[in-house]
Assembly symmetry: C2
Amino acid sequence: MTGRLYVVGTGPGNPDQMTPEAARAVADSAEFFGYFPYIDRLSLRPDQKKVASDNREELDRAQAALKRAAEGVNVCVVSGGDPGVFAMAAAVCEAIDAGPAEWRGIDLVVVPGVTAMLAVAARIGAPLGHDFCAISLSDNLKPWAVIEKRLRLVAEAGLVMAFYNPISKARPWQLGKAFEILREVLPAHTPVVFGRAAGRPDERMLVMPLGEADAERADMATCVIIGSPQTRVIAREGRQDLVYTPRFLQAEAT
Amino acid sequence: MTGRLYVVGTGPGNPDQMTPEAARAVADSAEFFGYFPYIDRLSLRPDQKKVASDNREELDRAQAALKRAAEGVNVCVVSGGDPGVFAMAAAVCEAIDAGPAEWRGIDLVVVPGVTAMLAVAARIGAPLGHDFCAISLSDNLKPWAVIEKRLRLVAEAGLVMAFYNPISKARPWQLGKAFEILREVLPAHTPVVFGRAAGRPDERMLVMPLGEADAERADMATCVIIGSPQTRVIAREGRQDLVYTPRFLQAEAT
């Protein structure tokens, strides 16, 4: 009898944004696999064991969790946000796909969560109110040429874009380059949202036009949202400006 | 002193997938504006008033809610899923943008939720594990020519696609036409997920190759996910097949 393997999303980091379903999965698990900062968001019982690891060892972590589940232990693989968006659910599936047949018999339960772009969008208005895409700017995951091609095509398609993994010490230039590419395709007034740590005490929301967008305003905890040509900004006295994309697109806008 | 206007997402419909933050917003509200089925998901107190309305009157509903908030009432505009994804948050912003100046002074709080594509993805594995987009197939919202252009461009970009509003009595042919268009660009084996009522008692998950994808399998409660050329299916004996998109994209795949 194998154990159950939960893959849980904690949400953006505010405990109020983690679902009861995720809390129940945590309560039902004996061992926790994940990146320290995500596991540390959970208040575990003394009998629950943390098996933390570096954030870059996702496949190893997935395999370790599957091995324990195959041994009959209920395990929980922890992601921030939603585990299915640039996170652990895909790593666990990759491990099952390449792993021993018995791993396919493990009771896998992926528990969805509020992913960063939804939390950022909520804090700033409704920038994702019409068609949009989520793109990782990490060229550890794919060649930069693919990212550049995708940026040009989705900009031409008129989709709002949410950038995950926009910048890091190891990837300092990619976001600035993405802004350069998009300035060739999109109007300079296109709103850009820098949404940092949405819903957390250290939250910081910043809106600037694409023409002035500065990659230095982003860090690893930032989700960057690029509007479409239809995206609008509503100025509010004494309050954060609202950014939204209308639900309707008129023919002349095509 | 104006009231507060919450725009809340109930999640996919399973109460366990609604966040504590959303529950708190509901508890703090006196009047509720939304489509019956969404409001009926909430267990309201006798002193809380439902102002239900038809699902096609989103702007009227947003204006009615803003008017009450301006009068000092705490109101809650209710969406299924996440209110920022093809839902009420954009309608409320549109109403504020076009409305009286005092509406900009209303304390607007958008509460994010688990949107349908994340709930469906979690139930089937990790189809959204790499770059993806969300597109509404409703040509009430934009001309069909725009939808067709977007489908071709995002398919060329290699993004996984989640279709919202795939089909309805009033829009019977759009999903079938979308499949036809995508068959011209994507391999016939590309996995297509029909995710109906994810997380609810009447949930139904179905996976078929794009070459055989049949629009009749979808209804208004279905979110359709189209894989990318990298998306894989893992067969599992006695269990639902898993569908996932690997985190890494090799150069030769470009």
